[in-house]
Symmetry: C2
Subunit: 257 residues, 2 copies
C-alpha cells in the first residue's frame, strides 16, 4: 500500500464542529477512495475561519497526493472555501466566464426565473487556473485547483461531484478487505494470536473491532491490503484463530480476494 | 466566545479512515462540549501510526485548552493510543496498580472467570501521572494526562467516560443557539441580508444551511453565541429577513435565549 497515492479530507464548516450537523460525507469518501486505491490518511474538520482554511490547505496539499474538501462553496457569507483556496495558492479569485454563462442559462430557464444576484455570482467565482467539477445536481460547480478538489457539503451534491471527478484521479492498487466475525469471542482472548498474524503480514493492516448485541458481544477482525494472496492468507489465519475459541466460519471475503 | 476554553477532538483509528466504521462520537462530543462552553475548534481523524499519534497529540495539546481522544485503548496490537500519549508526554508507560486490582477483581467475579492475560493487562497500563477515568461500563479505564483526555472508541463506553470526566473540566459560557427555518426560501435570496445581520453582531457566529425535501427546499439560519440578548436580537433580525420572502415564523429559541 505504500506506493499508493494518498488522500486527506477537509470537512469545512462550523456546523459540524458545533454538533448541529452530523457529517455524512467522510464515510462515503473514505470508502470510494479506498476502492480507487487512494487511501485516506487524515481527516480534519475545521471552522469557517480564513486563516485556518488557508493554513491547513497549504499544509496538507504538500503532504498528500490528493486533498478533498467538502463545504463552504454556497452563496452565503460563511461560504469562504473557494476564496481561501485562491489565497492558499496565491492566485486571484475571479468570475469564471463559462460557469457564469451556464448558471445564467440555468437560472433564466427556471419558472419563475431565479435572480442571478451578487450572492449567487460568488458561486461562479473561482481561483484562477481552477478546473470546474460539473455535475447534474447543480450548475454551481466544485473545482480542482492543483491537487485540491473542492466539493459541496450537501451529501447528494458532493457525491455527484466526486463521481464526476473520480475518472480523472490518479489511482493506486485498490484496497482489498476481508472481514472475519465471531460471536462470543472477545478481543482480550485473541489479541496475542492477532499480533502474531500481523507480524507474519507486515504489509497488511489488521484491525480488531468489538461489537455488542443484546445477548452478548463478539469481535470482527479485518485484514486490508493491496495483495489479494496476502489478504486471503491472513484471513485464513484469522479463521483458524477464532476456531480455537469455538467459532464457526463467518466472514466476508475481499472483493477480489 | 473568545474567552472560552477550546477543545480539539482526535479520532484515532484506521477503521474510520477506511470507511469501515462511521464515526458516532464526534457529534455527541461536539454537542456536549458546546453545552459546557468548551467549543470544539478542530477535529482530526488519524491512523494507528505511532509517530502520527505522538506528533499530533503534542501539536494540539499546545494549541487547545482540552484535547479529547477516542479509540485505541483496547487490548489488541492496534490499540496504541495509551502508549503513544506516554511517549508524547515523555513519561513511562507502566501498570497502574489500583487499576490492575480493580480489573482483577472484576475478571475474577465473572462467570466463567475471565483470564487476566498480557493483552488485557495492557488496558491497566497508563502513562505515569495519568488520572484514570472510571465509569460503570467497564473497569478498563480512560485517563486524563494533563489536558489530554483519552477515551474509548465504542460509543456507549466513550459517553460514560465523558460524563464521568465532565464535572472536572474547566468550563466556559455555554454556547447558546437560535435556529430559524423557512421552507421555499433559498440561500441565494437571503445571503446579502444575512451578511448585514452578521456585520451587526460580530460576536456571534451566524450560519446558513440549505435543506431539501421531496417537495422543495428551504433554509435554516442559526445564530450562536454566549450572550443571550445578542442571540435573541440576531434571531429577530433573521425572522424579519425571512418574512420579506413570505415565510411564517418558524424556529427554535436558544435554551436560555
Amino acid at each position: 500500500m505504500t506506493d499508493n497515492p494518498t488522500a486527506c479530507i477537509l470537512i469545512i464548516g462550523n456546523e459540524v464542529l458545533s454538533g448541529r450537523t452530523r457529517d455524512a460525507n467522510l464515510q462515503f469518501l473514505a470508502t470510494r477512495l479506498g476502492e480507487l486505491g487512494i487511501p485516506v490518511r487524515e481527516v480534519r474538520v475545521i471552522p469557517d475561519v480564513p486563516e485556518t482554511i488557508i493554513g491547513v490547505v497549504n499544509e496538507v496539499r504538500a503532504r498528500f497526493t490528493h486533498v478533498f474538501t467538502t463545504g463552504g462553496i454556497g452563496p452565503t457569507h460563511d461560504d469562504i472555501t473557494s476564496e481561501c483556496v485562491a489565497r492558499a495558492f496565491g492566485v486571484a479569485w475571479e468570475v469564471h466566464a463559462e460557469t457564469r454563462a451556464l448558471m445564467a442559462e440555468d437560472y433564466a430557464r427556471r419558472s419563475p426565473p431565479v435572480e442571478f444576484n451578487a450572492a449567487r455570482l460568488r458561486m461562479a467565482t473561482l481561483p484562477v487556473g481552477a478546473v470546474p467539477i460539473r455535475c447534474s445536481e447543480t450548475t454551481a460547480p466544485g473545482f480542482s485547483m492543483g491537487n485540491v478538489h473542492v466539493m459541496a457539503g450537501v451529501p447528494r451534491i458532493m457525491r455527484a461531484m466526486f463521481e464526476a471527478l473520480a475518472p480523472s484521479l490518479e489511482r493506486g492498487q485498490p484496497i482489498l478487505s476481508h472481514t472475519v466475525h465471531a460471536d462470543y469471542v472477545y478481543e482480550g482472548q485473541i489479541a496475542d494470536g492477532l499480533t502474531a498474524i500481523q507480524a507474519q503480514h507486515p504489509g497488511l493492516d489488521l484491525g480488531s473491532y468489538p461489537y455488542y448485541r443484546g445477548t452478548g458481544g463478539g469481535v470482527a477482525l479485518v485484514a486490508k491490503g493491496t495483495e489479494a494472496a496476502a489478504v486471503a492468507a491472513a484471513a485464513e489465519a484469522m479463521y483458524a484463530l477464532l476456531a480455537r475459541f469455538g467459532s464457526a466460519r463467518q466472514g466476508e471475503p475481499a472483493p477480489e480476494g
